[in-house]
Symmetry: C2
């Protein structure tokens, strides 16, 4: 039986042209984040099924690729009959890098400095319905600051991320920022009860797609009072009309919002705006929700011009480490949408800068050992000087061979014949 | 319930100190292999269970982490009752990079040049019994040349690998080389029948550990004739005593060995010796077996001084692509033992060269927004000049904070107070 040539459903082979860009992006990311004092770590791709199913992952928990138990453990479950599919599995592929990071920190905190600035680049897996441009295995690239309760964490994360995007040539983008406390205060001020906040935010999250009227309609359908809905949407309308939207929201909410949240958020926006080195603006967006319920404070998102979807995001999650250790540690992270960044670069015909010169040595078959040695010695010398040399036997169809090599960037060809 | 802090059994968290070395090694590997014309590719970590169980993986096929089917497919299997655990799974984590590479090549050959020189660095998984220094998830780093039937493939692979090891500071190591044709000819010459070759080679593979007498004993136990055993071991004894061991084996085997194999292997050894730029020797070793039965020709291995185990290896596997496409394509690969290399560097106290200067800015809590902006602006300026700057709030225990930062390489501290 012939073996299967295609990758498994929803995952993809990455060809050299794309890998070149990916490697370049990873290089810039590592270099820049290192300048900000972030240090690389890695966690296993396989996590305990209990950790992955612990309600930290929201909707992603429905998309776990589970790892079958092995040997006697599997036999035992099969003999008694598995009632739940989780009994058949003892691990799963991580669906994000945040849950593993929090486990990592809980396990290793003793040997780590405070604050701990972590950089992770790695694959994650989600058994999503396959669709164009969306894969079941994809890279995430996260920076997190653990143990820093002040807004210096947010400022550093946003500056590091935007400096990286700037170095990659991105311009004229936005960092949208909000705070879960503001979201809650706006809902509370409008008269929604606390138990309904998550439901209200799920609807609000659709504002970009369905507009104010759509949001109003959905909230009404969900049984909320017209009065609350009107009061809520008036806040957003007032924000849009105001010259200083942030101040308008602060003034409207009054005591519904703690003053420390107010000054903290304003300080982030002001300092990032003052010291930024890339071409972007940071804007307060009271309708920014971010899906994950684990966020406890600031939340933010990268919006690229003319792109309908976010290119990354993050926020503060001060309550997650306590789930592992019993003791909360302040934490804040920012994830770059690595695959989207690469896709944008590919679509814009991005060329990796400062490429080395590529030369191909093509050797006719039957050349003597002595001559072969000379040719290879010459190649080794050029390589040690930094030229990229491919040494290969000449194919029967030399023209086609040269064409495929030229497509890979080989500009110069040297041919060596038997005589 | 508290979540699990330890990684899953047999896998490990990688801390910043080790990651720094890993990143450095990967950088050198990519840079050097690129000079030889290798191009990076990536395949999904999850492979079709059929491909992984196709007898290409030898003993590794018993160690597959299998991925549970999902949704209706899983329900269907559970309702009818799974007779075989493979029915419960539709994928598995790759146990090496060779099977996925061959699938990749079969799927994408049309768009690839000939020869295709591939570089892969990535994790593989084996559900081995956990033991010291051996993990269930580990990196492999493979280079392969597909579509090159001549020994230029072997020469390029060995030069690229040894140049890389040299750049990483390894000296005085050996590349052991042999050919499956020689292994077979030696067994045939000694009177073993072809169906027994694999069994004989499994015993021969233990020569390093159990010596000549041990090998003789095990072969006898396995029912082979004393005459064949004596003749076989006399070859190895003669080889060891001879001044030119390769020539001795060639002379002894006479017509049992094709002359193209003889000249091909000699040419590899001679050219590599002539043009090598690192401090190593390439030696013919007729007892080198390499486990995988898919090898069809040359096989080789890296032996580090005083280290009992191989630090990498590879060989020619001309018959594997045909299993996917129906048409054989010559193929040859060399895998560096990435984890062993990193372990050796760690054990030898290796320091990554040309590290950037690291400075920590420690800011007292309560500093004004204006002052904070100034400090961050100063940090941004130094970063853009290449200094690594950590900006953090001063901890209550400043002495301890400085100590843990110093352990991460921070040499200079600047402190900023409220007044």
């Amino acid at each position: 039986m012939a073996l299967k040539k295609k990758p498994v459903t929803g995952m993809k082979d990455i060809l050299p042209e794309e890998m070149e860009i990916r490697d370049y992006v990873i290089g810039i990311i590592k270099e820049t984040y290192k300048e900000f004092g972030f240090t690389s770590i890695e966690t296993p791709c396989v996590e305990h099924i209990e950790n992955l199913s612990s309600k930290q992952g929201g909707e992603n928990e429905k998309l776990i690729f589970k790892i079958l138990k092995r040997g006697d453990k599997l036999k035992a479950v099969q003999e008694k009959g598995a009632e739940d599919e989780n009994e058949l599995a003892d691990g799963g592929l991580r669906y994000d890098l945040t849950v593993p990071l929090v486990r990592f920190y809980s396990n290793n905190a003793n040997g780590l400095p405070t604050p701990f600035k972590s950089l992770q680049i790695g694959s994650v897996w989600r058994a999503d319905r396959p669709q164009k441009g969306r894969y079941r295995q994809f890279y995430q690239c996260d920076i997190d600051i653990l143990g820093e309760s002040s807004n210096l964490a947010e400022i550093e994360l946003i500056l590091a991320t935007t400096t990286t995007l700037g170095k990659l040539g991105f311009k004229n983008f936005q960092i949208k920022i909000n705070d879960r406390q503001i979201l809650k205060a706006m809902a509370g001020y409008s008269g929604f009860s606390e138990k309904d906040y998550d439901s209200v935010f799920i609807t609000l999250d659709k504002l970009d797609k369905i507009g104010m009227e759509g949001v109003a309609g959905e909230l009404l359908e969900n049984g909320f009072s017209q009065e609350s809905i009107d009061k809520y949407l008036d806040l957003f309308k007032g924000f849009e009309a105001a010259e200083n939207g942030l101040q308008y929201i602060y003034d409207s909410l009054g005591e519904y919002l703690e003053s420390s949240v107010k000054t903290g958020l304003k300080e982030i926006i002001d300092s990032v705006s003052a010291v930024k080195s890339s071409d972007f603006e940071i804007v307060f967006d009271p309708s920014l929700v971010r899906g994950m319920s684990y966020y406890t404070g600031t939340i933010f998102e990268i919006a690229m011009p003319k792109l309908g979807i976010a290119c990354g995001g993050g926020g503060r999650y001060d309550k997650m480490i306590g789930k592992f250790t019993g003791k909360d540690v302040p934490a804040c992270g920012f994830s770059i949408g690595f695959e989207r960044i690469v896709l944008l670069l590919l679509e814009n015909g991005f060329q990796v800068p400062n490429q080395k010169k590529k030369t191909a040595f093509l050797i006719e078959k039957g050349i003597s050992s002595e001559k072969l040695c000379e040719i290879i010695a010459q190649a080794q010398k050029l390589r040690s000087q930094g030229t990229q040399i491919l040494v290969a036997r000449m194919n029967k169809n030399k023209k086609f061979q040269k064409e495929t090599l030229a497509a890979q960037g080989y500009e110069e060809f040297q041919e060596f014949f038997v005589k």
